[in-house]
C-alpha cells in the first residue's frame, strides 16, 4: 500500500467550498456519508455534484473546508494517496492496455503481489472474464462500463465514486446496470457515491439521496422521504412531478394550515409545510390526485379544471388537466374500476386529494 493513506470509516465533508474564479461551484457543503451506504448526489448539470465528487477523489482541492474518511483528514492529499476510486463518466479506460492490464493497473501500482489474480476476480465479478485479452476499443459501451467498474472495485477502496456511470448507455442497458450495481454494492459492501442528474436512477439505487442545486444541498434523505415531503420548491420540481400552486396562508385549523390556492381553500398539515405564514407553494403528487366528473362531498381540497389530454398507459391512465389559473396539472389514475371514466379532452372534471398528502414549501427558489 505504498503511499496510500490508511483511512476507515464514514466520509465527512466539512464546510467545503470550491470556487473557480468568481464562480462558486460548491458552497459551504457539509455532508456525512455512513460507511457501506449507497449515496446519490442528484442535481442538474452545473450544480456542483461532479466538483464535489472530484474533491473526494482528490482531483480537485477544496478552496476551504475539509474532506475526511473516518478520522483521517485527506484534504490536500493527491488522488493516488487516497483509498478512493472513481468510475469516470467516459470510463477513461487506458486505450493502449488490454482489459486485464486495465484492471490490474491499480493493484500493480500498489505493488500487490497477487495483482493478476485480483484482476481476474474483479473481471469475474462483472462477468467480463472472456474479454480480458481485448483492448477497450473492441468493447461496447456497456462492456466498457463494466470494465471501468472492475478497475475501480479491484482496489477495495474505502469509497467508490461513480460519475454518471450510466449516462452513455441506452435505456435497457441502464436498467440492467442499475440492478447490477446495486447487487455489487450489496455484495462487496463499500461506500458508493453516485453522481447523477437522473432522478429515477438516484431513487432506485440509493439508500440516501442528496439533491444539489447551485453548489448547495437542498435536501438529503431516503428517496421515499424526499419524494413524499420535499422541503424546497427545487426539490419538489426536480424529484418526480408535482402539481403546485402558490397562495396565501389564511389561518390555522387544528393540525392544518389553511391557504387560498387556485381559488379554493386547501389544507396542509402543519408539519408538512415549511412555511406557516405569508405565501406558500402548495403541492401534491400526481398519483395522489383523484379525478371525478362531479364535485365530491366535503369542503375544499378540490379544484375544477378542463381535461387537455388523456393517455392510457395500461396500468394507469394519465390525465393533463388545465387549471383556471393557467397551470396544468397531471394526474395518474390506477385502472382499478371495471368501468373507467370515459374522459375526453374538453371535459370538465373535479380534482380532489387527501389533505394529508399535500405539502407546502416556500415559493422562493433558493
Amino acid at each position: 500500500m505504498a503511499g496510500v493513506r490508511e483511512a476507515r470509516g464514514d466520509l465527512h465533508l466539512e464546510g467545503v467550498t470550491k470556487t473557480f474564479g468568481d464562480f462558486v461551484a460548491v458552497d459551504d457543503l457539509t455532508l456525512h456519508v455512513p460507511r457501506n451506504s449507497f449515496f446519490a448526489l442528484l442535481g442538474p448539470s452545473g450544480c456542483g455534484k461532479t466538483t464535489t465528487l472530484r474533491m473526494v477523489a482528490g482531483l480537485e482541492q477544496p478552496t476551504t473546508g475539509r474532506v475526511l474518511i473516518g478520522d483521517t483528514d485527506l484534504t490536500g492529499s493527491r488522488p493516488y494517496e487516497r483509498p478512493v476510486n472513481t468510475v469516470f463518466q467516459s470510463y477513461a479506460l487506458f486505450p493502449h492496455l488490454t482489459i486485464r492490464d486495465n484492471v490490474a493497473f491499480g493493484p500493480k501500482r500498489r505493488k500487490e503481489k497477487d495483482a493478476a489474480q485480483r484482476a481476474e476476480d474483479a473481471l469475474e465479478l462483472v462477468q467480463m472474464t472472456q474479454f480480458a485479452g481485448r483492448k477497450p476499443a473492441q468493447l461496447s459501451g456497456g462492456q466498457q462500463q463494466r470494465v471501468a467498474l472492475a478497475r475501480a472495485l479491484v482496489n477495495h477502496p474505502e469509497v467508490l465514486l461513480l460519475d454518471e456511470p450510466l449516462g452513455a448507455l441506452d435505456l435497457k442497458l441502464r436498467r440492467e446496470m442499475q440492478v447490477e450495481l446495486k447487487r455489487i454494492q450489496t455484495e462487496v459492501g463499500l461506500t458508493f457515491i453516485h453522481v447523477t442528474h437522473d432522478q429515477e436512477e438516484a431513487m432506485t439505487m440509493a439508500d440516501t439521496v442528496a439533491v444539489m442545486n447551485k453548489g448547495r444541498i437542498e435536501q438529503l434523505g431516503p428517496p421515499s422521504e424526499l419524494y413524499d415531503l420535499p422541503r424546497t420548491r427545487f426539490v419538489a420540481n426536480f424529484l418526480g412531478q408535482a402539481n403546485t400552486g402558490v397562495g396565501a396562508i389564511e389561518g390555522i385549523d387544528g393540525e392544518h394550515l389553511v391557504a387560498d390556492v387556485l381559488g379554493t381553500k386547501v389544507k396542509i398539515l402543519k408539519d408538512r409545510s415549511q412555511v406557516h405564514e405569508g405565501e406558500v407553494l402548495f403541492g401534491v403528487r400526481p398519483e395522489k390526485v383523484t379525478v371525478s366528473r362531479t364535485q365530491p362531498a366535503g369542503v375544499g381540497n378540490d379544484v375544477k379544471g378542463t381535461v387537455r389530454d388523456v393517455s392510457f398507459l395500461g396500468v394507469a391512465t394519465s390525465y393533463l388537466v388545465d387549471m383556471p389559473s393557467g397551470t396544468t396539472w397531471s394526474c395518474y389514475e390506477q385502472n382499478l374500476d371495471v368501468e373507467p371514466l370515459d374522459l375526453r379532452p374538453g371535459d370538465e372534471v373535479w380534482l380532489t386529494w387527501n389533505p394529508g398528502h399535500a405539502f407546502g414549501v416556500s415559493p422562493e427558489e433558493a
Binding site: 493516488y80 469516470f88 487506458f94 491499480g106 476499443a137 478497475r151
Partner: protein
Amino acid sequence: MAAMTPTTPTSSTAASGPAQRPSAARRARLWLANHFAVIAAILVLLYLFLPVAYTFAFSFNDHGRSNIVWQGFTWEHWQDPCGVPGVCESLVTSLQVGVISTVVATVLGTLMALAMVRYRFRGRSASNLLIFVPMATPEIVMGAALLTIFVQGFSNIGISLGFGTIVFAHIMFCLSFVVVTVKARLQSLDPRIEEAAQDLYAGPLQTFWSVTFPLILPGIAGAAMLAFSLSFDDFIITNFVSGNESTFPKFVYVASRRGIPAEANVIGFSMFVIAVLLVVGAQVVSSMRASRYKS
C-alpha cells in the same frame, strides 16, 4: 470536384422513363466534370515527382565538367557515390546534426507541449507567442540574427562558427514544430485518462510513463520525423552559421555554381528512397497491427 459538378439533367432523365442517352460529347464533359479533382490530383502528383525523376535520371549522366545536359548513361556514380571529394563528409555531418538536433528538439519540445496543454499558468500566452513567432520568421532573418550573435556576441565566450553552432540553430528552429505537433496529439487525449491513472495510485511520473507517454508516442515520433527532415534539408540558416563546416545541402549549393556532381544526385535520391521506405514500412506495420486487433 464533385462539388463543382454543374447541374445535370441525368436524374430527371432517369426518372422520366426511356429517355434518349446523352450525346457522346456531353457524356465526356460529364465524366470530366465528375473526375476533375481526381485528374487534377494525378497531374499535380506527377508534377511533384518531376524534379525527383530528373534527379534520378541525372544520377546516371556521364557528365563531364557540368551535369546540366544529358550526355550519356553510366553506372559509375552509383558504384562510388563518395567519389567526389567532400560529398560523403558533408552527408555524415548532416546526419550527425540531424540526429542530435532531432533528439534534443524532440525532448525539449515534448516537455513544452506538456506544459502548454496540461497546465494553466501565468505567461502561457507569452509562451505561445514565443513558440509561434519562430515559425512565422523567415529563415534568412533567423540565420542573419544567429550570425550576428555568434560573430559579435558568443565569440567572446569561445563559440566559433562550425558544427556546434549548426546544431544550436537547428534545435532552435525545429523546436516550435515539435511543440505544435506533440501539442495536437496531447489535445486529442482525454485528460480523464490521466486522472484515472492518478486515481488508481499512479504518481505523476508513473502516470506519465505508463499512460501519457505511450499514448502520445505516435505524435512524438511524427514530431521527430518532422524535426529530422527540417534539419537535414535546411540550407538557408545553415549557410549563415556553419563557418567552414559543410552539410549536404550546403555542399550541393556550393557545387551548383559549377554543376552538381552526379554523386550528389545518387545520395539525394537514395535518401529519398530510404525515407519513403521507412514511411511505407511504418504504415504497413501500423495497418497490420490494426487488422490484428480486429480479428
